[in-house]
């Protein structure tokens, strides 16, 4: 709950170089990733970052190509801030926050070429649609990084259905969804003129600005700055270095989960 006392407490600790939960400014909370929790979906993954819990489910179906890309499959990303995840989330159509979350995750996956969309062509006017749905089950800050981890892991471990005689075959001996890269993101917040990584739910209540930097091994693939505060160009440069540095460990966690 957003109370003045929590805000003052968090900011005063930051000014002393401390965080509420004892972390250093650029530490993640404990991260766990599991895959294949929902075997009826083509791919699935659950990610916990501290008390933030999200799952991602991947479904693959036959669809039609976009008019400007007739030889490519489609990636359709959705996110739901389920009302069971937080007192603050309401039922109803997707909130602007949920749509922003889905679009930022989508941009990272798309720009990094996590899915090889060219390989999702079936025949004239027929391609594979890849649906990635992010379900937020418990909110405690930093949904961007948790969702990108879950979506990437679910895609990298997804099965590829077969299309035979106008029928989609989803069971039995199937190959893997064609993937070509791994993307992860790191989200930073600024508050009381300090920069921190992986803001918790309480920290997010009082942050001035937020920036999510999605990278692969070497390059930036997507960014999103949020809220009314700002960053200097120097800060952005510093945070890009940090994001690429942090991505090593995140990528390792994904590889460990998918068994590479």
């Amino acid at each position: 709950m957003k109370t003045t006392i929590t805000g003052e407490y968090i900011k005063e600790m930051l000014s002393k170089g401390l965080r509420e939960d004892g972390r250093k400014f650029f530490d993640y909370r404990p991260i766990s990733i599991t895959k294949g929790n929902l075997p009826q979906a083509e791919g699935s993954a659950e990610v916990n970052i501290g008390n933030t819990k999200v799952i991602a489910g991947v479904k693959v179906s036959v669809g039609s190509p976009m008019p400007d890309k007739p030889d490519e499959g489609n990636l359709i990303t959705g996110a739901e801030l389920l009302p069971l995840a937080s007192e603050e989330f309401d039922i109803g159509p997707p909130s602007p926050e949920a749509i922003e979350l889905a679009r930022v995750v989508d941009r990272g996956i798309r720009a990094a070429g996590v899915i090889d969309l060219k390989k999702l062509f079936i025949e004239e006017e027929k391609v594979w649609d890849t649906f990635v749905d992010i379900y937020v089950l418990n909110y405690d800050g930093n949904l961007f990084d948790a969702s990108t981890l879950a979506a990437t892991t679910a895609l990298l471990s997804a099965r590829m259905p077969r299309y035979e005689n106008e029928e989609v075959i989803r069971e039995g001996n199937l190959g893997k969804l064609p993937t070509a890269n791994i993307v992860t993101s790191s989200t930073f917040a600024t508050m009381a003129n300090k920069l921190i990584l992986d803001p918790s739910g309480n920290e997010e209540l009082f942050m001035d600005a937020r920036i999510t930097i999605a990278t692969d091994e070497s390059n930036v693939r997507a960014m999103q700055k949020g809220l009314s505060g700002g960053f200097t160009a120097n800060e952005v440069e510093q945070l890009i270095d940090l994001a690429i540095e942090k991505s090593k460990n995140l990528r390792q966690e994904i590889k460990k989960t998918i068994g590479e």
Binding site: L38, G57, G78, Y139
Partner: protein
């Protein structure tokens, strides 16, 4: 998936997955799985994977939905778009989900002691993460555990199960494929202490005798389901008592009395 020919659902009294007519699928219930909710439960019921969570009692909003004499119960049941083995589903509740939300809400309106919380709402959320037939029954069973775990006073912990008819056989707990091709489907929710039926739906073709057999089979299964529910509710506490079975932990030393800091 294209609807193919009706499979033989029962061969020599055995069902496709090897169960006999009175066998439930494997059911596992875990209570208290989500940190933010007042109460929550995760149920694996065969291939169904369902999360239920409860928020409240809290101020009923929008205001006009509140009741000055008792709490209002709100319920949303929803299936995840990736929950089935088949096509990607549409996001958000459809007409089926809205009906299930309504009948689920009515089950809990019966057992929650609503007079204790005038002007407030109690919200029940049921999310079907993976579906394989009988999700409303599993959802009600899960929501009952979430509610009981939240400490909201109830007169009873209801459970639900679906009974079906395959040819001449009355069978318990239809899975998806049985549900698709069965001759009747009867989801039932019961409050065991009151011995009242709180949810009853049916479609298909059954004689009166078959309906009464279905009702008695539902009650029979209740002994198993109720035990799973109460065991799940006790589990987190048993873990704590196991941890401290050799006596209470020594209390941390009380710090010396500190002078409250004066604001400067």
């Amino acid at each position: 998936m294209a609807k193919s020919e009706k499979p033989e659902l029962m061969v020599n009294g055995k069902r496709l997955d090897g169960r006999m007519s009175g066998d439930l699928r494997h059911v596992r219930i875990e209570s208290g799985v989500l940190k933010n909710a007042a109460g929550s439960a995760y149920v694996e019921w065969g291939n169904n994977k369902i999360l239920a969570a409860v928020y409240g009692p809290r101020e009923a909003l929008p205001k006009h939905t509140s009741d000055p004499e008792k709490a209002v119960i709100k319920c949303r049941y929803q299936m995840a778009p990736f929950s089935s083995l088949e096509e990607h589903g549409r996001t958000g509740p459809n007409r089926r989900a809205i009906e299930i939300s309504k009948v689920t809400k009515e089950v809990f309106e019966n057992v929650i002691i609503r007079e204790n919380f005038p002007g407030s709402e109690i919200s029940i959320f049921v999310e079907v993460l993976q579906s394989d037939g009988g999700t409303r029954a599993a959802g009600i069973t899960a929501a009952a555990v979430a509610l009981a775990g939240s400490g909201i006073p109830m007169t009873d912990i209801p459970y639900a199960v679906s009974i079906g008819k395959i040819g001449e056989h009355i069978v318990i707990d239809l899975n998806k494929i049985e549900d698709n091709y069965s001759d009747a489907d009867v989801p039932i929710a019961i409050s065991p202490r009151q011995d009242k039926i709180l949810l009853l739906q049916m479609d298909g073709n059954m004689s009166k005798e078959e309906v009464s057999k279905a009702l008695s089979m539902a009650k029979e299964s209740g002994k198993i389901i109720t035990k799973l529910q109460t065991d799940a509710l006790k589990a987190p506490y048993l873990k704590i008592s196991e941890k401290y079975k050799n006596g209470a932990p020594s209390m941390p030393q009380q710090p010396q009395e500190q002078q409250p800091q004066q604001p400067k």
